[in-house]
């Protein structure tokens, strides 16, 4: 795709629908991106905002958006032809690329869905059926992390608790100092699960938790699950692809899902759900049932009624994009990590606080303690500060509230959850965050009457 004018001039519209002419590429199709080309790829981002929350919604380069729009137009051009002749082969191609990327053994193991939230519903709905159909006994257990994502917790409530299952949460220490602490807590929870002869039917384990953000030693936890006779393990790796190493053979879970729109440059939205093929494994079903019902989850997911499948079809182009970075996705992951650790350590030093966990337990996101004198004492405080940073300083970054335990004084109660792509980050933005936070503090403190003692802060 060289630079060319838009084939459908009517669709150029005003400047908000028009995708700028694609930046002129170097002559070699697989040449590495220059910095200028990268800047162009993200021209559509709000230039006044420091994006330090890539973890929530991800980002998508302009050349991918353009490819996606072409696919959308192809469908609209002659939808029947597209449906009968192009859709299935296109999705198959995407699934093959993903299969190779995550080292899955069988193509059948790869289904493409909207997002990890949908994948969770698929896995958990099957659990609900097992209870309803008498395969599981009332009171059988599902285990999840206390820091599981909000949607997943609700899904577990909807499909497990409601169906008669008993849910046990693994409490994790935070701040956390080593993966041994996590392993220890997990074993404790498993023991509780197996009390009174109950069976642990499912363990739901985050690969990288969201709030707070920590890389969990999933490989070890999966091994422990096998040792302890847990029926099935579902790894929620919403942040996995593009953030951390994702190897299905190495990790060994029964189900594994990751979003591709967070750290892998796909447009919203697409995720894969991996379902390990093993003797006796049952077929999951997509909750939206089409005429493909019964043809296997991958085929069911490839047609859930008329809708826009372009985000799923554009995957090959995304692979091409990623491979134009030095080291491909591995290179990006490594540089993301280095950068975010550098950022985090710099802020922790400036504020005289700490990181939420050691660097080796971070991937592309890091948590940094905010100065205690900010007086963050609730979830709503964090939301206020976050909004304040967005509106007054153009800084987008989530903030996590960590309640003090009994007896703790003067501890860090608020932490920045920084997740940034190395492509965007520049040191100036970091200083901006620094000063913005302190300004934010001054404003908040003068506006709210706080019970906490005011201390001198740098």
């Amino acid at each position: 795709m060289g630079s060319q004018s838009h084939p459908h001039p009517h669709l150029n519209g005003d400047s908000n629908t028009h995708i700028p002419k694609k930046p002129k590429l170097s002559s070699l199709p697989s040449s590495l991106f220059t910095e200028a080309e990268i800047q162009n790829e993200f021209n559509h981002h709000d230039p006044t905002v420091a994006r330090i929350n890539n973890g929530s919604f991800g980002c998508c380069p302009l050349s991918i958006i353009q490819s996606q729009q072409q696919l959308q137009l192809e469908f609209l051009r002659q939808p029947d032809h597209f449906y009968f002749s192009e859709l299935k082969p296109g999705i198959l191609k995407s699934r093959s690329l993903i299969q190779r990327l995550i080292n899955a053994h069988h193509l059948d193991e790869i289904s493409i869905v909207d997002n990890a939230t949908t994948a969770a519903a698929i896995v958990l709905q099957n659990i609900a059926w097992s209870f309803a159909e008498g395969k599981f006994n009332h009171g059988d257990v599902a285990i999840m992390l206390h820091y599981a994502y909000g949607a997943v917790k609700k899904s577990i409530e909807a499909y497990v608790t409601r169906a008669g299952g008993h849910v046990i949460e693994v409490h994790l220490p935070f701040p956390v100092n080593s993966k041994d602490e996590i392993v220890f807590e997990f074993r404790k929870a498993l023991e509780r699960g197996k009390e009174n002869g109950k069976k642990v039917r499912l363990a739901v384990i985050d690969h990288i938790t969201s709030m707070p953000s920590v890389v969990i030693p999933v490989k070890e936890l999966v091994r422990i699950c096998r040792e302890e006779g847990v029926d099935q393990v579902f790894v929620d790796a919403a942040h996995g692809i593009g953030c951390t190493d994702v190897d299905m053979q190495d990790i060994g879970a029964d189900f594994y899902t990751s979003n591709l729109h967070k750290w892998f440059f796909c447009p919203p939205s697409i995720a894969f759900l991996y379902c390990r093929k093993s003797p006796g494994c049952i077929d999951l079903h997509h909750p939206v049932v089409s005429h493909e019902y019964g043809n296997g989850l991958a085929v069911e997911s490839a047609w859930i009624g008329t809708r826009d499948y372009s985000a799923q079809l554009v995957v090959p182009k995304v692979f091409d994009f990623v491979n134009r970075f030095e080291g491909g996705i591995e290179g990006i992951k490594k540089r993301n990590h280095e950068n975010v650790v550098e950022m985090g350590q710099m802020l922790a030093k400036a504020w005289e606080t700490n990181l939420g966990c050691p660097p080796e337990m971070c991937a592309s996101m890091i948590m940094v303690g905010l100065p205690a004198c900010l007086g963050i004492s609730s979830d709503s405080d964090t939301l206020k500060l976050r909004t304040h940073l967005r509106e007054k300083f153009g800084v987008e970054v989530p903030i996590y509230y960590r309640a003090p335990k009994d007896g703790e004084v003067d501890v860090v109660t608020g932490l920045l959850v920084m997740g940034s792509l190395v492509l965007f980050f520049i040191i100036e933005e970091l200083c901006l965050v620094c000063s913005a936070t302190l300004h934010g503090f001054a404003t908040m403190n003068s506006q709210n009457q706080r019970r906490n003692k005011l201390q001198r802060c740098k």
């Binding site: 009517h10 908000n16 629908t17 519903a121 609700k154 909750p287 008329t306 809708r307 826009d308």
Partner: protein
């Protein structure tokens, strides 16, 4: 503030594009300005499957998409919810719902069916719980019933839709029979699924009367699958009286793929028990809120609904005008073909909306679903005509009343017309057999070497 929020303006004020009045009597202009992205040379006679979307709506959709990508957190916290509410409010007015809480936006009717059936499945309690539906219900609905009803141990009764059909009373009679059968061994009818406009074959069903019968007969809940309705027939959910009603907006209402509304009558106690199967942190906040956030994805098809109303109002008579003209044209076309082929229509014009069924000449020897599919593919590849073909198997009940054309059995072609009329209608009359001929593989199988073509195959404007 309004201008700033107007998606067409984005974040700075630009001149609003001058909106020209669209005239349905000038299809060339319309094609050039709003549908130039359609494949030229293809006769789109299957609008019912996938619909169509004008360029001005695509442009509006892209503006929303870029707005999200520009600063997604801001979009999520400040823009998404209020604008989804605007879209829902538009739908509420369109269908005469009494409360905004009754309107949820979902991807398509297939998704809505999953929602309704999951809820019904949770209510099954007796061995004799039954669900009633038409035998020609959409295949996805049938599979949904397998997945959520049969699997849960309830039974299913299929009501045969008479076809060809001559009047509403034939359908009503069959429906009554079906309900009696369902109740015959002490069964409790938990749900009746009634198509407003069936797909294959395509018939406009007297839903209001059937809902009334359901109430009379103590059916728990009534779900109207009106996938084709909005933009085809006027919808008044108060009048229709169903508990649940779904219609796709991308078929006949110009939305991009894909968006549908699911109406859940508030007075029905189950409406608070309805959940979207994809569970997010909004679980428990009511179906409209749950559906408005099912994880990160592209909600732009749901956001453009107000823009579609503007588009539609550029036509004379707005959506009512479009519906009336679609209907007139498709009936005209259908009658013309039936006459020139010596066959007939699948149902009287008053039982059609924007789609009509015309019997194909029996010489074509379409004797199975596979034949119908082959012919359809042939028409697409050789003649660039996109039109579904329905195979109607001979019915034992018909006996001597088995419909015949001049030469043999019925085969039906389904015509699904979009709003673009064809000013070459007059030429159809002159399109009688002798001129262009083609070899049909289906006809070949029967030892016939030619089947008669007509000018519609050259109609590139659809």
């Amino acid at each position: 503030m309004d201008e700033k929020e107007d998606p067409r303006n984005g974040d700075h004020v630009t001149k609003k594009p001058k909106l020209l009045k669209l005239s349905i009597s000038d299809p060339e202009f319309l094609l050039g300005s709003e549908f130039s992205h359609h494949q030229p040379g293809t006769a789109r006679i299957n609008n019912g499957s996938f619909g169509c979307c004008p360029e001005s709506i695509i442009a509006a959709q892209r503006t929303w998409q870029l707005r999200f990508l520009k600063q997604p957190d801001h979009f999520y916290f400040s823009t998404l919810r209020p604008n989804l509410s605007k879209s829902r409010a538009v739908v509420k007015t369109l269908i005469n719902a009494s409360d905004l809480d009754e309107i949820s936006l979902v991807d398509n009717a297939t998704t809505a069916a999953a929602i309704v059936l999951q809820q019904v499945g949770r209510r099954f309690s007796h061995v004799n719980d039954t669900v009633v539906m038409f035998h020609c219900a959409f295949p996805a609905i049938k599979k949904s019933i397998q997945a959520y009803v049969t699997r849960a141990g309830a039974s299913v009764i299929e009501v045969r839709l008479p076809f060809p059909v001559n009047s509403d009373s034939e359908i009503i009679a069959e429906f009554r029979k079906g309900l009696s059968k369902a109740k015959s061994n002490g069964g409790k009818v938990r749900l009746a699924i009634i198509d407003h406009i069936t797909s294959m074959p395509s018939v406009l069903v007297p839903v209001r009367e059937l809902v009334e019968i359901c109430r009379e007969q103590g059916v728990d809940q009534v779900f109207v699958d009106a996938a084709h309705a909005i933009g085809s027939v006027p919808i008044d959910v108060q009048e229709i009286g169903a508990d649940f009603y779904v219609s796709n907006l991308y078929k006949w209402f110009f939305a991009p793929p894909s968006v549908a509304f699911l109406y859940c009558r508030k007075s029905n106690s189950s409406s608070s028990a309805m959940h979207h199967p994809v569970v997010s942190h909004e679980y428990g906040n009511g179906l409209p809120i749950e559906s408005s956030w099912i994880g990160t994805r592209d909600y732009s098809p749901q956001l453009v609904i107000p823009t579609i109303i503007e588009f539609v109002n550029r036509f004379e008579g707005g959506i009512e005008g479009i519906m009336a003209r679609n209907h007139e044209q498709v009936v005209k076309m259908g009658k013309m073909l039936a006459e020139s082929w010596g066959t007939s229509l699948g149902s009287p014009p008053e039982m059609c909306a924007s789609m009509i069924m015309v019997a194909l000449p029996s010489k074509l020897c379409v004797t199975s679903d596979d034949d119908a599919f082959s012919l359809r593919t042939h028409l697409r590849e050789k003649y660039k005509v996109e039109v579904p073909i329905y195979y109607r198997p001979p019915c034992e009940d018909d006996g001597e009343k088995e419909p015949r054309d001049k030469d043999g059995f019925w085969r039906i072609i389904k015509f699904a017309r979009c709003f673009r009329p064809n000013e070459k209608v007059g030429s159809y009359r002159s399109s009688l057999p002798s001129n262009d001929v083609c070899v049909s593989p289906v006809a070949d199988t029967c030892g016939l070497t030619k089947f008669k073509n007509n000018r519609i195959l050259e109609d590139t404007n659809g």
